[in-house]
Amino acid sequence: MYYGPGLCGKTTNLQYIYTRTSPQAKGKMISLATETERTLFFDFLPLSLGEIRGFKTRFHLYTVPGQVFYDASRKLILKGVDGVVFVADSQIERMEANMESLENLRYNLQEQGYDLDRIPWVIQYNKRDLPSVASVEELRSLLNPTGAVPDFEATATSGGGVFDSLKAVAKLVLTELKRGGK
């Protein structure tokens, strides 16, 4: 599940993954978006990552709509979530939106009976290529103060860090599944 404030690059992450995976490993990418390409409900991308001891691993990647007023839809998509990539917008002027979105994630998860501290999740500091970005230290101090969450720098438009984030969360999800996921 890709979560984060509006226009932070969640859909761009999925689009990059879609363009860079072999046709046999992926299904069709679905975007339920408005005419101006803002996500209305979700984007969906099914992805196979290979086999472990004869078990095929298949992931379903979803994004949530980032805009604040789509909260009702956002909550629905969190039902049954196995892991989260929180995509933060590195631009200084989006710092408040990042923090608000992270709080919203924690709150919405709680409503579905999940605890953010107990589910697999990673943070992606996106848009590192833009000029007015906060330093990673600043972002970390606000969004990952204990440093306990694996975090990655990324530029989703050109793909930097996209697969690092995906692999990290996929690995955490599989480890959780092996442990029993309870």
């Binding site: 299904g27 969906f44 472990i52 379903h60 049954g80 092996k178």
Partner: protein, 160 residues
Amino acid sequence: MGDPQMVMYEEEFNQIQVVCERLIRDANALVVFIVDKNGQLIAAAGEHEHLDTTSLASLTAGNIAATGGMAKLLKEKEFTTQFHEGEHQNIHIQIVGQRVILVVIFDERSSLGLVRLRVRKANEDLNRIFESLLKKVQDPSTGSPFAEITDDDIDNLFND
């Protein structure tokens, strides 16, 4: 946490498949499939080879989630049935046992009345199968099928 992970065993899978095949015949339907509420396809029967069932499964679950959200706003428990009418094909969606979703696609060779009638019977059968499956999964003596997977196995998946 939310619902526990669903583990499907061969015995129940075969029973579910039988119910789907029968529903195809009894309801004169084109395609029948079963999806869990998270959007994972569980079983499919009928002429589904040309269909993108993975996407259909995900969208069905999204649809059910959105309808469930509307029900909650109206202080209803859930809306158990949905019907979408197209020019040539129609979709009937039914929640089974609050856990899985039964989808029937049919055309003018069948009718909504017939589909509803046959879905009711299939609903009862599926409910029974999923009840017994749930008991099996919750039985503490049934170990996790993934218990033998090591951390190295998981690491190896990502070494490229």
